[in-house]
């Protein structure tokens, strides 16, 4: 892996968070592979989001429903405006197989979400499983390990 490649991978993870923070949801969705998914398990050891309860597990189709709702302007729950901020540590490249076109990055971060007089703070580690497609690297799966997925949480309306 060249330093150019490693820079490209870490930039993708940073950009992914920034697009959510900027509300550029369509661009954010385009970062996912066609069979890409976004998963927030309830336990670190969980393996199968189809058979184990999870806070969130969405494929491109469901993510596009989520994005459609966020952008259509019909959701009263999003008024007043909901904003978020991902404060990331430097993403660490855990594995990278350039021949196979796969990589895994791990990023520690703090997620802030605010609406009116309320703010939610979540600590998390994101695992990005990236795959290289014809038009560049895409997100095969984003897994978010919240620090407290077992706690009773208030509603979290954007994407931690």
């Amino acid at each position: 892996m060249t330093s150019d490649e490693s820079l490209m991978l870490t930039r993708l993870v940073v950009r992914e968070a920034r697009l959510i923070d900027d509300g550029a949801y369509e661009d954010w969705l385009a970062l996912f592979a066609a069979d890409g998914s976004y998963w927030i398990p309830l336990r670190p050891e969980d393996q199968d989001p189809e058979l184990e309860p999870a806070m969130l597990y969405e494929d491109r189709l469901l993510l596009s429903v989520r994005v459609e709702r966020l952008t259509a302007g019909k959701a009263h729950s999003l008024r007043p405006q909901v904003r978020c901020l991902h404060v990331l540590q430097q993403p660490e490249i855990e594995t990278c197989d350039t021949a196979a076109g796969t990589a895994r990055l791990r990023t520690r971060y703090v997620y802030l979400e605010t609406q009116g007089d309320r703010q939610v703070v979540l600590g998390a580690v994101a695992v990005h499983d990236l795959v290289r497609e014809d038009d560049g690297w895409k997100i095969g799966r984003k897994t978010v390990h919240l620090l407290n997925p077992d706690a009773p949480l208030p509603m979290v309306q954007l994407m931690p």
Binding site: P53, A54, L62, A72, S77
Partner: protein, 442 residues
Amino acid sequence: MSGFYRADAARLAALVQPDRVHRDVYIDEEVFDLEMERLWARSWLYVGHASQVPAAGDYLTTTLAGQPVFLMRQPGGELGVFFNRCAHKGAQLLLDERGNAGKLLRCPYHAWNYKLDGSLLSLPLKNDYEGSGVWESPAGKGLAKPGGVREYRGLVFARLSPDGPAFEDYFAGVLEILDLIADRSPSGELEVVGPPLRSEMSCNWKMYLENVNDSVHPISTHESAAHAAKTVGDGLSGAEQEMAMEQLLPFGAGYSFYTKMGARVTAHGHSIHGTKFSLHSGYAAIPGYQDMLREAHGEARAHEVLSFSPQNTVLYPSLALKASPALLRVLQPLAAGRTRLEVWALAPRGAPEALRRQAVNYTRLVFSPTSIVAHDDIRLFESVQRSLHAGGNEWISLHRGYRGEAEPALPHEVEDGNDELLMRNQFRAWRDALAQPAPEVV
């Protein structure tokens, strides 16, 4: 103002009128304390599921009406529920959410040891207690227990208070729902698929439970989710319409759909919403499942079980459940304006994996803190909780379907699924429970 309601039974009773309730039922902390003492403590509350504690010493800890308890499988196989409080100084005995206690419970504070049945086994410096009277005091009696415990088809309920209705009387008219759900398994056994999804909301617990029976809200409240699902779904072929879309799209159903689905209300505030059909009746059949149930339960029972799929059943005041997808919603009130919710998926043992998949998917899609459906509900509950402080109108309307009639004999079949009689019936139970002061604690 302490005693404003406690000392004035007429004022307390007047909070519930036949067609409306006063805002203090939701926002007043003294009323909240009274409902914990008089309603929750005397009701049969959902504790947990037998499948969570299969072996001797297995336990789970939880909270009933704000009181810490644990459910523990006894060496003889029976289930015990105990207050999670050392008889000595009150330290919490079991600290984890679940686990196995081994052969005894040891308090981390002063090493008082208890048998799994809650009796005091040993304590340090025993000679120092000679003649102290400790053995005759509550401390010497071991762990305190709720007034009653009952398991029914795997669901474990407890009544905190020694006084209150018997289990069968309390749930008369709705217990068969638990049979219908359990019989979705060929062996008649359910298991919970943990862990639960947990939420905390800044609203009163009753708002949540009324909303479970409110079929008039989805078309407006969930417009954004239904619209987004339809926009995306319209571009798909039938084959691409996956289970998630099958579960999301019906949130756009209109008023007339719910009008026809019918309901039943029973004594103590319980209800079955969607006795004739529901949003869940339209889910695609699972291959082989029907035959499996026919073989296990016979043709008639299999038909009964599979055709029964109400929108929601409320076992007032702590539990709401669905048969298909099979799931439990457990309420834990913390304060007048704070409520916790646990949502558990259920899987019928021996049934196709698709049922587990369906339940897991639904809990995540509709009840998770990140659910696009739940957001619109919770946002409204929380805004109502705040807005009720507005002056000018101190009442919440429950008029829909009310025509000045007397309260019906229970159980009662409700023709129109949109009738607010389902909420009025909850408040009828609430009012009756709050009218009876709790017995003096000795």
